[in-house]
């Protein structure tokens, strides 16, 4: 009950942010980027946190979604609201196809194969000049067309769009985790051989979660490039995929709130400290060591413990 009230309060606060920070558009900028990072992280959390699949190519699928939407919007003159679901669908299809191959491997072999596919997809984005405009990036991506007189050009409106996307992602995560499908994912992480002996088609379920995780990556990717108005291969590199893993682990792998906390810290901390982005990886490296040693359940685990102590 108290948890539900706290959640409602948090959502109300998030909705009120544009009004509260009207003098500081910078805050909205940071929050939009946090949402854009949190959405793929939710997808990776379902794979890594709940199913135990550590993918090192996750952000490449965000790129598949982003570039699909970019081509559809700029070259095919499709509207954002049609390009968005198609981009998500393309990412899901790519995830299912690549997943079906990668999932034939286990543990570190799986990680290496996902890394390889991530690099391949990145190379396509970086080099297929005719379609992706290559390393210089894909310019001219529009912000979403106004919906019912509501324009998404101004920052607050786009903030609501990104927030809506994030809330959708977290709702999907919540529904999955408490469904029978979610139980199977948890079982697969704990003991795949036992799950199979109990009648679980492991390959089918893992491919499904890979596709779902990639779809969420695609959603984040489309919002990302629509916000920046340019798609650049640099947003979908191996380093970005590793960042996604860091966000999930530092936030708390296998916890519902983990991706949000991880993304907020990842985007907010360097901005707050006013340090160059290059130092972010150093700070996060140190943080990762500390979290692994002292809070294996991540920030979500720490907050959960504090919350329980507060209520006791």
């Amino acid at each position: 009950m108290a948890g539900r009230a706290a959640l409602a309060g948090l959502v109300a606060l998030l909705l009120a942010v544009p009004a509260l920070t009207a003098q500081h558009p910078y805050v909205l900028h940071v929050l939009i980027l946090s949402c854009v990072y949190a959405i793929p992280a939710v997808g990776l959390n379902l794979m890594l946190g709940y199913t135990g699949l550590v993918s090192l190519g996750h952000m490449a699928f965000a790129g598949v979604g982003a570039y699909t939407a970019a081509v559809l919007m700029v070259d095919a003159r499709l509207g954002f609201w049609l390009a968005l679901p198609l981009g998500v669908l393309a990412a899901a299809a790519a995830g299912a196809a690549v997943g079906a191959i990668c999932l034939r491997f286990r543990t570190h072999f799986f990680m290496i194969v996902t890394l390889a596919f991530g690099l391949m997809l990145y190379s396509v984005m970086n080099n297929w000049d005719e379609v992706t405009r290559g390393a210089a990036g894909f310019p001219g991506i529009p912000r979403p067309a106004p919906l019912g007189g509501w324009s998404f050009g101004p920052l607050p409106a786009f903030y609501y769009l990104a927030l809506g996307g994030a809330l959708l992602a977290f709702t999907v995560q919540w529904l999955v985790v408490r469904s029978p499908f979610g139980r199977v994912l948890l079982a697969l992480r704990q003991d795949e051989r036992l799950a199979r002996a109990k009648g679980v088609n492991a390959m089918l379920h893992k491919t499904a979660v890979f596709a779902l995780g990639s779809a969420l990556a695609g959603l984040g990717g489309v919002l990302h490039v629509s916000f920046l108005r340019v798609a650049a291969p640099a947003s979908f590199t191996l380093a970005e995929s590793i960042n996604a893993v860091l966000i999930v682990i530092i936030g708390g792998a296998g916890s519902l709130a983990g991706p949000a906390l991880g993304a907020l810290l990842f985007v907010g901390l360097p901005e707050y400290l006013r340090v160059a982005a290059e130092w972010r990886l150093v700070a996060f490296g140190v943080l990762l060591v500390l979290i692994t040693l002292f809070a294996p359940q991540g920030l979500a685990g720490l907050l959960g413990r504090a919350w329980r102590r507060l209520r006791a």
């Binding site: 079982a187 704990q190 003991d191 199979r196 002996a197 109990k198 009648g199």
Partner: protein, 229 residues
Amino acid sequence: MSLLSVAGLTKRYGGIAALAGCELEFERPGLYGLIGPNGAGKTTLFDVITGVTEPDAGSVRIDGRDVTRWPAHRLAACGVARSFQECRVFPEFTCLENLLFRAREPESEALRLLRLINLERYAAEPAANLSFGQRRLLEIVGTFMARPRVLLLDEPAAGVNPALLELLLGFIRRMYEERPLLFLVVEHNMEFVMALAGEVVVMHQGRVLERGTPQEVQASARVLEAYLG
């Protein structure tokens, strides 16, 4: 038509033949013991029957249906359940959640079975908090929740202390009385297997060496020779 039969089953690991044309047939439900010296091929036979390992040659039939090379999950759906030598439960799930995972039996049955093995008070406890022997009991109880027709237990007594062993023996006997299905139990604990099984199959070098009542098998010179080498 036999309940479970394997014919010409062969499986090689490098130069070692874990199964060398193994022939075995079970016509009726019953409590069968499967024994043999280390390396006789008992666990490999289990793994092939339950779809964990693919055989190099030969066939597995259940109710006359050829199920050779079926994946584990399909075999489970067709009524084959097993426990593992190394004891497998889902550590983060509670005991009750472990029993209800993919179960065909209802929750009331899960609670009744937990009561039978004195684990009822741990129903809401994560399985990781149980002792090894208790986890073993939980794993075996879990195999009944799928309402199997063929149940393979791989060394259920290994690592279980004498008090729990008595409980386990009583539990398996009781389950057999309640629902006569095909139990195949691999075991190194001779006392346990002789007390439990109505019929014992002895494997040696990837084949069936002897088959009979516990008394017959114990009296067999061939079995003695296989064990003493």
